[in-house]
């Protein structure tokens, strides 16, 4: 196994949760107990998930490293492999190799306020770090989560959103794009950057973690800058196409960086140093 890095761990799909149309979460457990014992990862890392016969695809690990014994991933059905994954049932066996990539430096964030901003299907890469920080809640000061999706039905992790809403130690603001609201929607209505501006979180001793579709990111950064966030205090995670996951196949190259090795987590300051090829 260790001999061949391409050789995935065999994982059993323990539980499947429907999150939104075409989006589901798999809870995966190691078939081989030794694998599980050896396996460790940190928030922000990703892996290659494979359906034998269909191939591999890349997503972050969506569960928190503080929750042991399993990993979770959330994906939208779009391509060949995600479609094949969607064909899996509870009990199916899939492959997983990882963890790959760098991490969110949560140790460095100790004693700071955290602002999470996510859009649509980009909450999963952030869920890992959100739970990680929530599980180590005392290490951080205020935690604010701003999450938006195109419509109410497109919001993922609905149960967890409810949990976060109930918690006293988290401030959760959810929003949907204009027109995407349902009759009983009691969150915000508006695009994420607008809502960020409206909520106007303080940049004082705060780290912002932003993840979402390119257009959301593009309009959110200036808002954060206006709020006084420095580029070093804004984190995001890139989602380039990858095949190997460990800096060989050349696909995720952005300038001299390998998103799979040097990323996927980048600060805005680092990002500004990259060519615009992500």
């Amino acid at each position: 196994m260790t001999d061949n890095i391409y050789m995935p761990y065999l994982m059993k799909v323990e539980k499947i949760t429907w999150e939104a149309p075409g989006v589901r979460t798999f809870m995966l457990k190691f078939i081989n107990e030794e694998d599980q014992a050896r396996f460790d990862f940190k928030a922000g890392q990703f892996g290659e998930y494979s359906v034998y016969g269909s191939g591999e695809c890349t997503f972050c690990i969506a569960s928190s490293p503080t929750r042991k014994g399993y990993i979770e991933c959330t994906f939208r059905q779009t391509g060949k492999v995600t479609n094949a994954l969607a064909g899996c049932e509870e009990g199916s066996i899939i492959g997983f190799r990882g963890p790959y990539g760098n991490i969110f430096p949560i140790d460095e964030w100790k004693g700071k306020n955290l602002l999470f901003i996510a859009g649509g299907i980009a909450l999963p890469p952030m869920r890992c770090v959100i739970w990680n920080t929530l599980d180590l809640r005392d290490n951080f000061k205020d935690i604010t989560i701003i999450y938006g999706a195109r419509s109410v039905k497109d919001l993922v992790y609905k149960h967890e959103l409810d949990d976060w809403k109930m918690r006293k130690d988290v401030r959760l603001i959810t929003t949907v794009d204009p027109g995407g609201e349902s009759p009983d929607w009691n969150g915000e209505v508006g695009f994420v950057p607008t809502i960020v501006e409206k909520v106007s979180p303080s940049s004082e001793n705060t780290v912002a973690i932003v993840c979402g579709p390119p257009v959301m990111i593009k309009y959110t950064f200036p808002v954060l800058a206006k709020l006084g966030f420095t580029d070093e205090n804004i984190y995001t995670t890139l989602e380039n196409r990858m095949k190997c996951g460990f800096g060989k196949c050349g696909r995720c190259n952005v300038g001299k960086y390998y998103v799979c090795k040097d990323g996927p987590v980048f600060t805005l300051a680092q990002l500004k140093d990259l060519p615009d090829e992500y």
């Binding site: 499947i16 064909g87 049932e89």
Partner: protein, 667 residues
């Protein structure tokens, strides 16, 4: 994630006698994605269907494979059962274990193995099935009838009488068609106009019928239930509202030497004219080609004499746009003229005439008021020869088919001649006498036996003039090909019935197919004789092939019922198994590159061009688009498309691919 139920039917013992149904169900139950698998005595029975419905409800099935008989037999049954249980009916597939397996193979493992394969293949297919909804298309309940002959008239009246609107267009100034030219009709010898004109009047007066004479179809777009037609109303140079039809203008018109079309050139008409006295509408038109004013710029006599001032020299063609839901094509036929026949003098001899000209001679309303007189000198012919198959059934002339009506009308002509010219001698040269039809054979026998018409079996090789007589040279094949030579005063050629000039062009406008002779093609020669391949366009009468009156009328009524049936629905419901061009995220939008080669591959002209535009309205890409109203779901475009941009619902790339991949290997 698929949750597929497999239901294996024993069909009594029809399947289970050779296939181990329990084993099939058991094996299928182990396949990925199969959550429920069972075998049962009679799956199509009520309890069997209930079994399926319960499983759908209890197990939350997302797909169903019924392994039973041919889907051609029970697919609707099981799809309906699925629908009743809340599963989209198109998530149900049938494996054909009976017709394709148990009934054709011996009992044994190979047969059971095959049954298992057949089930597995459909399990794999059904994983890629998609929920589909029947397509609904609204119906414009107005019919367009093209052609105002007897077929068009009958179709219009029948449709109008079911309460639907009809627009009838006719290219000539009057409706009536060829039937109005006929003298009497076989086999009853009743007067053609006597039976036709009341119908023509009825058309004119029917509240549901809009009549456009002197009008032609300019263009057509759309599809069944939703056609848009442009009609060119040729200028009549007349304000029809003002014209009372008094006819003064026609009597005063100085151009009087124009061969009358109605009289097949045997009579003359004026430049402003009504084609015949019983015309509907009975209002004149100006024939601009022959009008002195239009050709020389002077005259305008009609304008001067018109008591209501209805003449409009400056009137232009008018384009009328109409929306219709169905179209009946009843454009009729034409006949070959005598100049088609070199062996009979290229039409140069005035006393060699066509059958239609003879009709005019024999008609009481004709140029001779019904007396049979020869065109050259007006004498009553004492010897007359009728030739059947003039052009027809003659490969060399490019008309290999039988024109069908000639045998009967020749018998009628000869009979009429014998009745009108006492002591006259009539000969009929024929190849075969084709008198299939009610009272037809009897009619021909009457001509031969009662009226003494001489029937000679044989072909006429040559006709030439000699001493004022027409020498008809032929051979009597019944007498061992003995040469026959007849000195005749007049010869009537039963020339071939052929498609109208321009039929091909019209067919292309309508996107209906046509046969090699340019007659419009029916959708199926036996079972769909009045339908065309284009849904919503129907055929009546001789535009499809030479037809006699009763046949034309029957077809017209048949087409009318088809139209009425169509109009009985507010919306058309169609199987959603149609082709679709893919859409992809920007900046590709669709993998279609817009080569549009599929357009000509589609048998139904269902593929159109579509422009994908950005927000500012600029065209980003041109791609193919399948019109769901026209697509019949053959999938020819799918296999043709290089980029795999078109897919057909129900038989998608993924479905067929996974079927093939599962055929021989377990998945």
């Amino acid at each position: 994630m698929s949750k597929i139920g497999v239901f294996v039917c024993h069909c009594g013992e029809n399947i289970s006698a050779t296939v181990d149904c329990a084993k099939v169900a058991e094996t299928a139950g182990k396949y990925d994605g199969v959550t429920f698998s069972v075998d049962y005595k009679y799956m199509c029975s009520d309890p069997g269907q209930t079994l399926i419905k319960n499983a759908i409800a209890e197990k939350g099935l997302t797909g169903v494979v019924v392994a039973a008989c041919s889907p051609r037999m029970h697919e609707p049954t099981f799809r309906k059962a699925c629908a009743e249980a809340g599963l989209n009916p198109y998530m149900c597939e049938m494996a054909n274990l009976r017709e394709h397996c148990s009934w054709v193979h011996e009992k044994g493992d190979p047969t059971t193995d095959k049954a298992i394969d057949l089930v597995r293949v459909l399990v794999e297919k059904v994983k890629y099935n998609q929920s589909l909804n029947a397509i609904k298309v609204p119906v414009t309940k107005t019919a367009l009838v093209i052609g105002g002959g007897i077929a068009g008239i009958q179709a219009s009246l029948d449709i109008a009488n079911t309460g639907h609107k009809v627009i009838l267009i006719e290219k000539d100034p009057s409706i009536g068609g060829h039937m109005s030219q006929l003298s009497e009709t076989f086999p009853t010898l009743d007067c053609s106009q006597c039976i036709l004109t009341p119908r023509m009047v009825e058309v004119a007066q029917h509240p549901n019928i809009t009549l456009y004479t002197y009008a032609e179809l300019e263009s057509l777009e759309g599809f069944i239930g939703n056609f848009k037609a442009k009609i060119r109303r040729k200028s009549k140079s007349l304000d029809e509202k003002l014209c009372t039809g008094c006819g003064l203008c026609t009597t005063k018109c100085p151009s009087k030497k124009i061969p009358s079309e109605f009289n097949e050139g045997l009579g003359m008409r004026t430049a402003i004219y009504v084609p015949f006295p019983q015309a509907v509408p009975n209002k004149p038109v100006i024939d601009r080609k022959n009008c002195t004013y239009y050709t020389k710029g002077k005259c305008r006599i009609c304008e001067k004499v018109c008591p209501t001032g209805a003449i409009r020299f400056d009137q232009e063609d008018q384009i009328v746009e109409v929306e219709v839901g169905a179209i009946v094509l009843a454009t009729g036929f034409t006949i070959k003229q005598t100049d088609f026949f070199p062996e009979y003098g290229y039409g140069k001899h005035p006393d060699i005439i066509t059958g239609l000209q003879f009709e005019r001679l024999a008609s009481a309303s004709g140029p001779t008021l019904g007396e049979i007189r020869r065109p050259s000198d007006g004498k009553v012919p004492q010897t007359i020869v009728f030739l059947s198959c003039a052009g027809s059934r003659d490969e060399a002339k490019g008309i290999p088919y039988c024109s069908k009506i000639c045998c009967m009308y020749i018998a009628k002509h000869a009979m009429l001649y014998q009745h009108k010219v006492h002591g006259g001698k009539s000969y009929v040269f024929y190849m075969d006498i084709r008198a299939g039809g009610k009272m037809y054979e009897e009619f021909v026998r009457r001509a031969i036996e009662d009226d003494g018409v001489n029937y000679v079996r044989g072909r006429v090789s040559r006709i030439y003039e000699k001493n004022g007589k027409l020498i008809v040279k032929g051979a009597d094949t019944l007498l061992g090909a003995m040469p026959v030579e007849i000195e005749a005063d007049m010869v009537v050629l039963a020339t071939a019935g052929v498609a109208n000039e321009g039929a091909e062009e019209l067919a292309q406008k309508l996107h209906v197919s046509y046969d090699p002779y340019h007659f419009f093609a029916e959708a199926h020669p036996k079972l769909k004789p009045v339908e065309t391949n284009t849904a919503g366009i129907f055929l009546a009468g001789a535009c499809q092939a030479p037809r006699d009156i009763p046949e034309s009328v029957s077809m017209a009524s048949g087409a009318a019922v088809k139209v009425a049936g169509l109009f009985s629905q507010d919306e058309l419901t169609r199987e959603p198994l149609i082709a679709v061009v893919n859409r992809q995220p920007a900046p590709v939008y669709s993998s279609c590159v817009g080569c549009f080669l599929c357009v000509s591959a589609c048998p139904y002209q269902a593929i159109e061009k579509e422009e994908i535009k950005d927000r500012s309205g600029a065209v980003i890409k041109r791609v193919a688009k399948v019109n769901p109203g026209l697509c019949q779901g053959c999938g020819t475009c799918v296999a043709f498309c290089r980029t795999k941009s078109i897919d057909i619902q129900g038989y998608t790339h993924e479905q067929m691919y996974s079927e093939v991949m599962a055929l021989l290997n377990e998945y």
